[in-house]
Amino acid sequence: MAKNTSKTEKKGALSIKNVTKIYDPTGVNVMAVDNCSMEIAAGEVCMIVGPSGCGKTTLLNAIAGFHSITEGSIHLDGELLCGPERPKAEQSAERMVVFQHGALFPWKTLQENVAYGPTVQKALSPSQAMEKGGQMLAEAGLGNFIKKFPGEVSSGMARRAEIVRALINNPKVLLLDEPYRAMDALTKQIMHESLLETYDRTGVTIFFITHDLEEAIFLGDKVHIVTTRPCQLKKTVEVKIPRPRSYETQSSEKFRKLLVEVNDAVHEEAVKAFKAGEREMA
């Protein structure tokens, strides 16, 4: 595996090769992912777009080590995460997940949440971890809320805090599963700017699942469009819009053209998925 050695020596190249996942919960084989391959360069923002229930999350769970894979292999920076010998990757702080519904611990304040990782890893003493957590939250614009419980802040703030909680562990890859799904357009805008700002600062590899095509193009270096179940790579669209990007980017001609291109590919799959759903109902 050739390591990407750019000037900042970025880490977190993901190589997904011929991954297949068959769920067999009740004796009925359900193929969630079928022979899916993709290469994600270190420090890349990779957006995964596809119809609902197509197996995107299955892929993310395999990378994170929550689920096993049936066939194929996944490597991170040339190291095997999971493959024929080891179907399930080990969970590790080098691959941090930001969950679809948010998973800040409700019984800990934002600061305690962020300090949790370094504390349990014994990388920092509890008081050092708290201090660093408070600092990082302040950098993310949450300085006034570090003593609040997740239930006391808005969903946008909670999601930003959750990303901070992931980043304090210095992960190579950040895995985001539709983190901004239930947010209104205005909040989303702010979330995107904050994520881009974070990305520009850390250069962490981002694996981001979404349904929102504009989001995919605005944030991504590459947009991978996957097919309806079983999940396969259908098309990759490269977004050659220079960074740093601002919200004005979204009204540019280039952006509109990319949107049409992605939309065409996704629409076809969405129709297929819808028809398959109709068949299942009938």
Partner: protein, 270 residues
Amino acid sequence: MMNYLQALFSNTTTRRGFGAIIIFLFIWHIGSQLDEWTGYDLLGIGLVPPPVDVFTAFLGVMPKTGYWMSWVASFSRVITGFLVAMLVGIPFGLLLAVNRYFRGVFFPPFEILRPIPPLAWVPASLIFWPTNEMSIAFVTFLGAFFTIVINVLGGARNIDISYLRAAQSMGASQFDLFWKIVLPGTLPSIFTGAAVGMGITWEVVLAAEMISGGGTQGGGGLGFFIWSSYMGGSLEQIIVGMISIGIAGYLSSSAIRKIGFHFMPWRRLF
């Protein structure tokens, strides 16, 4: 003292609560007098003694140590049974939740014993335990135990898997997972179980006291107090006993709420 009362009554919720109680007493009074005033009673409601008579009966029993000893007896039984149920029930429920083998062995017998109403245990435990006191304590314990265990088990099993996954990804050990995730995640269910269990404990202790004849402690307990008032034919005193239990139950559940609030600062509403 005056300042304290002033502060208390400046609170809308408190004022409303006291207002409601006064209106209730007023309606009660009208109901009890309906027969005398109109010649008709409302579905036998004329038989109810007016609140003033009940209050007089209360003034009658107030100086008697027997009445207060009954409070002490019932409270100490409830607290003993409840605390033992918490001490045994919480670890038992958590073990059921986190250990597959433990669950395999202990869950089936637990589920067979659980549907048996606590009161059905009264005759057997009267025979089984050497003293009445122990029988009452045992039945009280059972009343709370099953509720607490089932709540703890349900709560621990329902913890969002994302919390566990997030913690594990961050490098939490099994020890960290249990103490920092499973236990705080189960706390709300523990307190729900405690609140429900406390209610059942009062129900059970009262019935057990009535059946067993009050045990050996002085006063016999509030259940025995009601029963002996019934035997003595004093309707007013029965109602004094009933209201006493209402107040005792209220005190117990507000204590649990206070403790819950203390241990779960992230839950402003309980």
